[in-house]
């Protein structure tokens, strides 16, 4: 992790939003190849550093193969976090994404996210088995895409969609 430094700008989002993003909601990441062809894949978990300057999106290496190839080639990333019950949606962008092996903490975050997502979707009428299959992936297949958020936007449907997020300090 990057050490805290006085010269660094404040993080792009606050602790409440960081908790929201790690709370077992719908996660997707996208990237773009050198040919400007985009890619997209579902993520199965998310971990945010305490200083909120580093984000790890946890994906399946087979399911997200195209995004991972693009990340390795260009380093650009978009990550979307959406809560189905409220439609609250946030998008982060990064330009320094790298692919790393998953740590035991990452795998624990995937398990927690999966359980949280099942609990989020069940009251909305989605069968738990279906949600578990949606996020089903062997641990050995999980990798982390680590990036520094360089921009953050609200994407909740409505008049504020697309508004850049800043943090009130």
């Amino acid at each position: 992790m990057i050490p805290a430094h006085e010269a660094l700008p404040p993080p792009l989002f606050d602790a409440e939003l960081a908790a929201f993003m790690q709370g077992g909601i719908s996660l997707n990441i996208g990237s773009c190849g050198p040919d400007r062809r985009p890619s997209v894949a579902r993520a199965f978990g998310c971990r945010i550093a305490a200083d909120r300057r580093q984000v790890r999106m946890l994906v399946s290496s087979s399911h997200a193969a195209q995004v991972l190839a693009h990340v390795r080639a260009t380093g650009v990333l978009a990550a979307v976090f959406s809560e189905p019950s409220t439609y609250r949606t946030v998008q982060l962008k990064g330009v320094d994404a790298t692919v790393e092996p998953a740590t035991p903490e990452d795998l624990a975050a995937v398990a927690a996210c999966r359980a949280g997502f099942v609990a989020e979707l069940e009251p909305l009428g989605y069968a738990p088995d279906m949600v578990r299959a949606l996020l089903g992936c062997p641990d050995a297949d999980i990798v982390a895409v680590r990036f520094t958020p360089s921009a953050a936007f609200s994407q909740t449907p409505g008049p504020d969609a697309g508004r850049a997020l800043g943090v009130a300090s």
Partner: protein, 440 residues
């Protein structure tokens, strides 16, 4: 794998996600409220407001779309190329109605507005590795369709044709709430001729072209399918409320439409034969997401056969008129007379101050009543009626059978002491239990 094999992914149960990229290669990911299957090579997405996705598409038409089957959880990825935006026409109207239903369902009625239907070519479709559950087939619509067609193909009586169709929908398709409406071209409206599964039949109720799910389907000649009901398209509620607000003081000539109060899924399919709008076949359900793309396709096929059969019935020559319609009994029925009141401006007819019918069916009824009063005649033929200058048939090809059926059903439902009954092919009898008294 063909695109039409994964249409279950496009029902909006699990939102799709799309990635686009700007010219400098910055990706953007967005959630999609609606993905519309267009044909084997195209899908359409809603353009609701100008956002990053749209800015990217205008600069770089390449996009990738991820969708999930809501039953099996299988993931699919589609490589797309943005082609064009449609702002009118069948695709636009179909997506607009669907979006209104989605918006209402998720409490976003003021937020989701369709500005255009963005059409994309699908260059590639692949299943993405992941866990899946087995599929759970519930019914076979092709088989239901075939059995229904077998049943109605040979039917040569309009009333029985419609009754058989609605019964087959209930038995073979498990669709318990349905109605058939025919189109009145000069009046630009549809009138209900048969229904099944409602407290009241609503026969004779009308919908203007362009009103609600049924009226839009008729105007655009395209199926309109809503998986979550929207007040925007809730024709029946509005009409019912209007009717109630008018109260008893108005000359009430509106027959309430049948319809489920708690309708959640609706599908209106136009019946078109030889490029002519015959009417609309309409089904609904109290369940969300009841009708799928496959239901829509199967009902479109059924409606095509139904339209053709009705068209053939209309085109069939009337039974030759031997001019020997017996005058019938001249003795007048006993009892208090039934007051028959006619308003020529819209041919509306009231029996004992209660509304019966209007329009062409009203003018038919008046011709019958006048002949009955003047010459004691009770027996009539379709052929003579079609040529009768007092009957304001829009044109010779108009469905006289349908008008007679409408009149006959209304008389039976009003139970006012007058009815008409078929006495043979192209022949019928006016039967009055009490004397008729014309009030002018």
């Amino acid at each position: 794998m063909k695109l039409d094999a994964i249409r279950g992914c496009f029902e909006g149960v699990v939102p799709g996600t799309m990635a686009t990229a700007s010219l400098d290669g910055t990706p953007n990911v967005s959630y999609l409220s609606q993905v519309q299957f267009v044909d084997g090579d195209h899908v359409a997405l809603t353009y609701q407001f100008f956002n990053k996705t749209r800015a990217n598409l205008l600069a770089n038409p390449h996009a990738v779309l991820a969708v999930v089957d809501p039953v099996t959880a299988a993931h699919y990825r589609l490589s797309l190329e943005f082609l064009r935006t449609e702002t009118a026409g069948p695709l636009f109207e179909s997506m607009k109605a669907k979006l209104a239903g989605i918006a209402s369902h998720v409490g976003m009625s003021g937020v989701f507005q369709l500005l255009g239907a963005d059409v994309f070519r699908v260059h590639a479709l692949e299943q993405v590795p992941g866990c899946t559950l087995p599929a759970q087939p519930e019914r076979n619509l092709l088989s239901a369709l075939r059995r229904t067609l077998d049943r109605i193909r040979a039917q040569r009586d309009l009333e029985q044709l419609l009754a058989d169709t609605l019964e087959a929908l209930a038995v073979e398709w498990d669709i318990g709430h349905a109605m058939a409406l025919l189109y009145d071209a000069p009046g630009q409206r549809l009138y209900t001729l048969a229904s099944r599964g409602y407290e009241v039949s609503g026969v004779g109720s009308e919908i203007a072209l362009g009103d609600g799910v049924i009226g839009v389907a008729a105007r655009e000649r395209t199926p309109i399918r809503i998986s979550h009901m929207s007040s925007e398209y809730a024709y029946n509620r509005t009409i019912r409320d209007n009717a109630q607000n008018k109260g008893l003081d108005a000359l009430e000539t509106a027959i309430p439409l049948p319809g489920l109060r708690q309708s959640r899924s609706q599908l209106a399919v136009p019946m078109v034969a030889a490029d002519r709008l015959i009417g609309v076949l309409y089904v609904e359900s109290p369940l969300d997401l009841r009708f799928t793309y496959d239901d829509e396709d199967a009902l479109v096929a059924l409606a095509a056969q139904l339209a053709l059969t009705i068209h053939l019935l209309q085109s069939a020559p009337d039974t030759p008129d031997d001019g020997q319609c017996p005058a019938g009994e001249t003795t007048r029925a006993p009892g208090e007379p039934i007051a028959v009141c006619h308003y020529p401006e819209n041919d509306s007819v009231f029996l004992d101050d209660e509304y019966l019918i209007k329009g062409v069916a009203g003018s038919i009824f008046m011709a019958l009543v006048r002949d009955h009063l003047e010459s004691g005649r009770s027996e009539f033929s379709n052929r003579a009626l079609r040529l009768d200058p007092r009957v304001r048939l829009p044109d010779l090809s108009d469905n006289l059978e349908a008008r007679l059926l409408l009149l006959s059903r209304r008389l039976a439902e009003r139970d006012a002491g007058v009815r008409i009954e078929k006495t043979g092919r192209g022949r019928f009898r006016l039967h009055a239990q009490r004397p008729l008294l014309l009030i002018s």
